[in-house]
Each structure stands twice: as C-alpha cells, then as structure tokens.
Symmetry: C2
Subunit: 229 residues, 2 copies
DNA sequence: TTCAAAATGTGTTTTAAATCACAGTTTAAA
DNA sequence: TTTAAACTGTGATTTAAAACACATTTTGAA
C-alpha cells in the first residue's frame, strides 16, 4: 500500500460531517497524520487477521466489508464515500476483525488510529458525529440481518437491488458493482440462485439488465416483493 | 412505566465505564434527569414504533432487543447490566426502531435523550466510551450474523449456549432466560428444532438440562460444534 | 387448588434453495 | 490477439429444516 502522498485536509472537498466539526489546530493535526492512497477494483484495503494500523476514510469509490465464515465469505456491509472504515480498530485488539476490499477504483485516506482516538477525546462534536454514524449503521444492520434471515431469495435480491439503487447510487440505473458470487455473499444465496432470480425479475419486467447495467423498471412491485419476502 | 423514583447517580454502585468519566457537575446533571424503574419478567421496556423518549441504562437484570420481521420476531441481541439500550434514539428519528423486553426482573434508569447527547458533546471521554461500546457491539453482531446465516442448527444452538454461559452469565451453569420459541427467535430456528437439538446435546452428554437449568458439561466439543457449524 | 393457557416433546411430510453437472461467455493478462 | 481463468446460465438431484399434527407437561392466574 502506497501511503507516500500526504493529504491536504484543510482544503479537501470531500470532508465528512465529522471532519467538518474540527477546528484549525485539529485539522492540521489530522493533516500531518493522514495519507492518501488509490486502490484498484478488487484490491484488498485491509485483511481480517492482519495487524491493525490505520482507520481509512473513503473519499471516492465503493468498499465491501466482509468476513470469512465457516461455509463462505459473508459481505457484511457496503460502504460508500464520506465514511470511515475500520473504526473498531480503536478497541485494544491488535488485528482487523474483518476485511475491506475495493469494489470499484477507490480513493482512501489512512489516518493513524491514535490520532483518531485523540480527536474523539478532545472534540465532543467529532465523537458525536461518529456516534451518529455508528448508530445509523446499527439500525441498518438490524434490518439487513432480518432481511437476510427471514426472507426468501426473491425478497432478499429485491431488497439488495433497491438498496444499491436508492442508498448507494441514488439512481434507478446503475452499474452492478458486485459479481453474482458477491451478490450471493451479500444476501446469502448461491451464485446460481442469484442468476435465476435476476433472470426472472428481468423476464417479468421488474428490471432491465444489459450485462452489469441494471435499471429498476418497476420500483413499486420490487418494494412489495422486498417487503413481503 | 413508573418513573417516580429519582436516582442518586453520584453514589450509584452500578456505574458504567462511560458514567465513570463524568465530573461532579455532569453527574449532577445526569442525576436530575434520570429516573429509576423496575420491570417484571416479560415486561416491555419500549416498543418498536412508539415515540422515543429516553435512553435506558440497565442496572441489573437482562434485556432482549428484538424486531418484528416479515415471518417472525427476531431477537437481535441480549443486553446485560451496565449497558445503555436505545442509544440510536439520539438520531433525529422520532420512533423506536426496535423493541426492548425484560427477560428477567430488571432494574433500569431512564435518561433524557437530550441530556445524554449533551454529555457526549461536552465530554469527549464519555463519547469515547460510548463509541467503544458501539464498536464492540458491531464486532459481536458481525459474528452473530455469520453464525446465524452460515451454520446449521447444531452450530447455532451450541454457539448460543456458549454465548449465554460465557458472555452473559460467566458461569458454566445457568437458568435459561429464553423459552424455546425465544431461543428460536435468537438463533433463527423453529421451536421444534430447538427442542430436538437440546435433547440431542443432553443425550450426547454435552449439556445437562433440568427444566430451565442448563449446565455445560463438554465445553470443548460444544465449541467445536459451534465453530464448524 | 383448579384449570386454561403456554410451553415442550416427537413423528411425518413438505419445501426452498443448495449442490451438482456441464455449457456458454466474458474478461484480463501474456 | 490469443488463451486461460473467472463469470454466467440452466436443468436435475439432494437435503436441512420448516411446517404440520398431535400428545404431554408446566405455569400462572382465578
């Protein structure tokens, strides 16, 4: 990983709400302990089990957070820009508990864990924003867990498509960043089942699919399928 | 809910690490905006969909956090004393996104959400402790999700028994706080499957079971089952 | 102390989706 | 530009656990 390029945080155009709370001294501190880096599609950002070093901030791109389970890899969440990844690194544990991989070319800033922790301790507003993000993540994760556990594939896939369209891309047409296997690892289904389900959605006119380009055609029905499972 | 009794936080013997960081002024503020209350077994602490009012702190007892899914109730986590529940209430949302129910007689302190938020903003150390708790929860939840999704019932039940024994009760013998249905809602299995699995574990000498009293007899094998699924 | 309502136990049947097997297609590296 | 590797598509078979159906036991409220 190439951390050679130093960042200029003060004039960065991709500040998160948390970083916006920092004063001049604090942002200078951040700047001195922060390095920018570019990751190609499928490049591993950090890997479960390796020694922790930094918290990463997504300036642009898309990242999957995943963890090896007894039978397969499980994609736990997909994180989009202006969010930190690897915050639990601030806990005493010395190894990453999960992996992070770039789904598309991704621009990251690596921040020293101790500096990040100091910002939390010094600036209540910074900590408050981090808490807000963690709470949002928790609520979303509760819903994802229920979706994955209680719905049948049609519901799970519909919900994943709507999630990508609405939350991640904010566009009813998008280039699917996940392969069939990845989508399976995300919604807990086999690759074959994903193929069959997407084909069916296409045949029924709920989506259009040209290669990886997906367009939501019938939002309402998809939402209904995603709700009822 | 009876919030009549005012608390004496300063001399409370059940302070969390977060509350330990507060200074005299802050703890007085907390004390003035905090009310103690006792909940019977199975009493609802707050319910998904109802208007948010307070964050609760568990002084003693045991609480399940659960949410209604399309096919059944899902127990998302079990929370033990010296932890807050309902922290996401600090987000702008005006309704609880999940329910909390006492599993055993439980002693709670209700704290005004705005006061809680002010403590985070004013005192970085307080926020830091809350962040630590949220991070621990996230890591545990990742593991729980993988367990529930990827393992077969034997593994899921073994893992739940070890979780209760190790993390919740810190004792190899404990009074099961969950009914068969509840345990099913926790590990995502039907009531019948839970019965069969527990009977089998007993027959094979892995646990002893006298009514609700469970004793872990063969920790090693259970751990192996829980790991391999 | 009684008695209905929960909770638990056990055999049989059903089912959703995984797995298997293999063909065709795209992608990226040499 | 070629060529292997990764990805996608589709039918047939298998399987883990849910659902069903009922008997029995426990619990807690009148």
């Amino acid at each position: 990983m190439d951390l050679s390029e130093k960042s200029n945080c003060t004039f960065c155009h991709f500040k998160s709400q948390a970083v916006e709370t920092l004063d001049t001294t604090e942002i200078t501190l951040l700047e001195k302990n922060c390095a920018e880096s570019v990751f190609k599609k499928n490049a591993i950002i950090f890997q479960q089990g390796s020694l922790t070093s930094h918290i990463a901030y997504i300036r642009s791109g898309l990242v999957k957070i995943h963890k090896r389970g007894p039978s397969r890899d499980q994609i736990l969440k997909i994180v989009k820009p202006l969010r930190f990844i690897g915050i639990p690194t601030i806990l005493n544990g010395r190894r990453y508990q999960y992996s992070a991989t770039a789904l598309v070319p991704t621009n990251l800033c690596f921040i020293d864990t101790d500096i990040f922790k100091n910002l939390i301790l010094q600036n209540g507003s910074f900590g408050n924003e981090i808490i807000n993000e963690l709470c949002q993540d928790e609520l979303r994760f509760f819903d994802h867990a229920i979706n994955r556990l209680q719905k049948q594939i049609h519901g799970r896939v519909a919900e994943a498509l709507l999630y990508l369209s609405t939350e991640i891309f904010a566009n009813n047409s998008f280039l699917m960043p996940l392969s069939g296997k990845d989508l399976g690892d995300f919604v807990h289904a086999s690759r074959e089942t994903i193929t069959r389900t997407l084909s069916r959605f296409k045949k029924e006119g709920l989506i259009d699919k040209q290669g990886r380009q997906i367009t939501i055609l019938d939002y309402k029905t998809l939402l209904h399928i995603s709700r009822t499972g």
